[in-house]
Symmetry: C2
Amino acid sequence: MTQDDLNNQLKWLFENAMSGISVDCVAFAYQEERLKVLCLRYRNTDIWSLPGGLVFKHESLHQSAFRTLQERTGLDSIYLKQFQTFGEVERANIKEVMSRLVPPFAMEYFPNRSISVGYYALVNHREVIFTQDILTDLTAWHDIEELPAMIFDHVQIINTAVKSLKAQFDHLPLSYHLLPKKFTIGELQKLHEEVLGEKLERSNFQKKILSTAILERIDERKIGGAYKSPYLYRFKREKYEAWVNQVF
Amino acid sequence: MTQDDLNNQLKWLFENAMSGISVDCVAFAYQEERLKVLCLRYRNTDIWSLPGGLVFKHESLHQSAFRTLQERTGLDSIYLKQFQTFGEVERANIKEVMSRLVPPFAMEYFPNRSISVGYYALVNHREVIFTQDILTDLTAWHDIEELPAMIFDHVQIINTAVKSLKAQFDHLPLSYHLLPKKFTIGELQKLHEEVLGEKLERSNFQKKILSTAILERIDERKIGGAYKSPYLYRFKREKYEAWVNQVF
């Protein structure tokens, strides 16, 4: 890409977008029994960022967040929830940071201050196909407790998203989005323990989960474990959707 | 105020504020056993609005919401919580509505589209002193179930705020902000029933509330009721503050 190409692309972008507002997406996945978050690395740097971007004049905030993540992950269906808008005056030292990441001629496009609307997403990492863009060269899942160096207030945005997820996870079947199609009750419990950050008592958990009637046991068992092969379960799609419609 | 004065005031306002973003405040009070919301009426019209406004370049979103309400109500201390940001493309037909509310020369200042960050506030209406501004001539408490004609998506913003308050009220001692300093358990129960929209069983409610140890019984009884004078209670300030610090 030539300097002219980049200039034209940025010019078009800023002309067609709202000024001083962006969305940032905290995309969670559950991988190797850990809660992970999707991060992007700026080209030729060690600086990471959340996927996010400008809001086009013709799109809603939600559409902007969805587009941003869809472009990155190739997913057509993403569970997306707005959790907080970040509007401290000093939250993003845009001019200072961007001067290290883009050529000097591009600096004129960036505003002094930007407000960011935070969305968290729940993503099945098994279905993701990463795509890069003109500013980043790597997309990766990071453990929420081992985050790399991130721009602006992105660490704070992630921590706030984790807190919101935790507050909503307890009574909502959000695990639907993070697990494989079939899973054991033990695997479901491990996910809840990871998100909530605490051990749960096995029989209470099982009783509570099964009482919601949102799961169904299928006629198949998990093979290969050390113990007696446990039954596999899956979400009843219509029950899950009824729940979504009731809550949102 | 002359046309020049108004023009200068609007010019100054839009020059010093961020473009395309505003805050809107849903200020709740509990009056005559009903949940009320603060609404403003535009001068010489029957069109009502939430208190809200532009965000100055030098202030955070939270400061902007606080300033807006402080100017209206004279309060120095306001419980304020961001609950959602409204960003649909067609949410506010700004040009169309404002052309009916401000003189033609002022129209150039208004943007085509604006995103609004919603805050809800809990206000003790006994402490409020209303102040008007250049565009409005009346401030009043409206029952949330009998709202007047409101501009833009303000009815939706109020309904969303009610939903958020309801979701958070059950397990949080937010009633601290809405009740007089001293109250009976019966009065506290009535407030919870009004917010949650359902009857609560008296002995369960009493047991649950007293188990939080956030209230203290004072050596005084409510006088003048039809029944045996019940004890009065108040919030333990240090317990309430410890709770706020833990949750937020």
